[in-house]
Symmetry: C4
Subunit: 250 residues, 4 copies
Amino acid sequence: MVKIIENKLIDAEPLKDAVLIEGLPGIGHVGRVAAEHIVEEFNGEKVLELYCDDFPPQIVVKNDGTIEYMKNEFYLVKEPVPMVIVLGNTQALSPKGQYVLSEKIVDIAMKYGATKTYTLGGFGIGKISDELKVYVASTSKELSEQHKELGAEFRTDGGSIIGAAGLMLKFSKLKGIEGICLMGETPGYLVDPKSAGNVLEMLSKAIGFEIDMKKLDERAKEMEKFIEKVQMQEQGMQAPQHQDDLSYIG
Amino acid sequence: MVKIIENKLIDAEPLKDAVLIEGLPGIGHVGRVAAEHIVEEFNGEKVLELYCDDFPPQIVVKNDGTIEYMKNEFYLVKEPVPMVIVLGNTQALSPKGQYVLSEKIVDIAMKYGATKTYTLGGFGIGKISDELKVYVASTSKELSEQHKELGAEFRTDGGSIIGAAGLMLKFSKLKGIEGICLMGETPGYLVDPKSAGNVLEMLSKAIGFEIDMKKLDERAKEMEKFIEKVQMQEQGMQAPQHQDDLSYIG
Amino acid sequence: MVKIIENKLIDAEPLKDAVLIEGLPGIGHVGRVAAEHIVEEFNGEKVLELYCDDFPPQIVVKNDGTIEYMKNEFYLVKEPVPMVIVLGNTQALSPKGQYVLSEKIVDIAMKYGATKTYTLGGFGIGKISDELKVYVASTSKELSEQHKELGAEFRTDGGSIIGAAGLMLKFSKLKGIEGICLMGETPGYLVDPKSAGNVLEMLSKAIGFEIDMKKLDERAKEMEKFIEKVQMQEQGMQAPQHQDDLSYIG
Amino acid sequence: MVKIIENKLIDAEPLKDAVLIEGLPGIGHVGRVAAEHIVEEFNGEKVLELYCDDFPPQIVVKNDGTIEYMKNEFYLVKEPVPMVIVLGNTQALSPKGQYVLSEKIVDIAMKYGATKTYTLGGFGIGKISDELKVYVASTSKELSEQHKELGAEFRTDGGSIIGAAGLMLKFSKLKGIEGICLMGETPGYLVDPKSAGNVLEMLSKAIGFEIDMKKLDERAKEMEKFIEKVQMQEQGMQAPQHQDDLSYIG
């Protein structure tokens, strides 16, 4: 059993015909950078946090001596287009946790008025490339064709979409709403604002809003600085010592 | 707790005295190729899909921009012999998931009228061989002897049958029906139509049907092309980044 | 949740003041060889089998074409001393499974009349040694001292007893009966009849029975032959292929 | 589901406005050494033991032939300051176990009167250093500032606090009491009494008690000797053999 705690921060009115947008951590942090930018530019209001006992068993230490929990967060944006945006500092660790959490996120977003789901992610190509494509995969052929007309391409590698970005499409469909995943090609940088910008541009065309891109790079750089610092600090660490003794007999 | 979702596609009448045939992914995809060939040749009708939160937490992207879930599928064949055929693109990931899913598959098949179980698989020999044997193991000595008379051999390696192909025999027996596993020797190719053909031939003799083998190679080649493409694409990928920070204190 | 299926084979009367003896697989198969020898010499009657979905998800193929489940088995011995003996071809895989199964085994044995628990195991020393000691650890200082007088020694390595051999002592104590673990030093052979003989000798002195050791070596050799054959066969095998596609986006 | 057994040893009266202090195993055993020293110096009374089926599936063998369970222990200290101290020889193994156990520990401590939580741990710096800092992170900015005035510093690495030391802060806050983690820099020794002393000094200033440090080194040396012996013994051990046969077909 995976336990999820909902921590409602504000009693918000549901939106009308909102778009659920997922931007959880993933390759190149493409979806996360794109979704955070939307929240910042359109003054998203944080309404709810999710905690889950399938998240990494830890807390994050902040510069001011306070702590932050591992969490997924829901933001509501009313203008220019109603959106329910899901951010966070982690995804679930186990397969079961991934399934349970993805379903829960779709459930909650639908309560906030979501009637369509966009999941945003990176598609690692493992090499530098001048032109970074945006791919689309969705729960209906018609929807995918619509995004193709906007410039997105179809993947022909036969591969998969792992984690919330994939499973939320499945649970959207099972619960009666359509789901689209936009994947931005990325060479595989730690944080890739260029790929995030490409995905964001495609999303804005698809949903129909305009967004100022000026601060996107700046925000991505801040995220990168933070993640780099954490990685350096990790290299000086030792593995935890959970137990005294492991010798065998039996 | 392993959660299984049954997605019934068609309200089908149960068959009479049907044979349950399992062809899930495994070594050389021997069982899968054989079972898919039966479905294709005898126009099997897909009646039900199973989803499970112990499957890999992902979805598959198709060439036309649409998506496919990780799933196990039930097909009914009425002629020449009533059969309930189980295909799929995955098996459960954890030991518990393997047990729960294998039991569920036998349960559902029995509701569709199955009174005997055949599981089909490959037996890797790790070397090229001119003659590829077919082995049999079953829930009764009598049954195994019957297949020996048809040309199958007994394994003397003391080894095991891992996954659904093994556990479905156990749950068949516990629920009161007999179970037989046919294993085709395979050098260990990605997809081995020759081994699949051998298993299929043995099965057709055992159950009593004739089947056209002309398209078997062709279908196996398509499956191989797909699986190869996926593997190549994987090599350009990076591992997912689930969390920001992993430094230790405690 | 770990699911355990009890398959009662015979309606047996509980014994009076029986000794529970555990001989599940472990290092050098010391406990297993010793406990199987008791069952064989004293004509133990198999009364119950346990299956568990935390066992390896597989079945074993036998030379005669039939199959064997992964299982733990209960045998009753009435003479010369009442004993409930637990054998098996596996232990549980996960920590939780180990705990749940160890508790269940003690529960069942107590229903069959067990009022004291002996767990038997090997203690790997990683080198050849002329003299192979037998160690004792138990739930009471008094009991351990009694076995010391019979020639057993105390371990001073501060190490642990992993698996059923350790946890069954804990659950015996929590349920109100004493528990003793006898550990035979073993260089770490695949199957070590010499170490098993040492443990058996200590056990017979402690409980008070005489047992013919003539066939011990022979039985250990058969077990070794079987296990070796399995290991050789494994080396020709490939890893299972559970899924088609593992590429990442998210 | 993670199962926790509470073994109450004494019917103790709850304390008034007690401080919960966590000293479970971790890097440099910093928190454990510090917390054990408090228990010893102030004659803490052991009132309760916790067992959990997400602990390592083993028991510990002691020099006198008796055994010890894997456990977390609660001690009450009345003077000079009411304290509920949590020691133990292990932490939970899985993420879920970590979450469930951390919540349970806070629950129990609150029943014993805890109104504030201190978790103690090491912060590995991976190099020798003359000056070993003590860091603080807490559930409120005000609290962290108070400890800064006492000489503690804030971490700026953006990293995490893994395990009970982190999660107990989260559950303290969710249940309405404040939580502070004190982390002593440590080069990463097996057992680091110097770092433990630094943490202890900070804690005594923060809570307001005086403690004799004379025996701290001695106790840390004993713990180190024990842990070293275990590690040496482990190197002579072989991995457990859980099953007979692992060959594949399916």
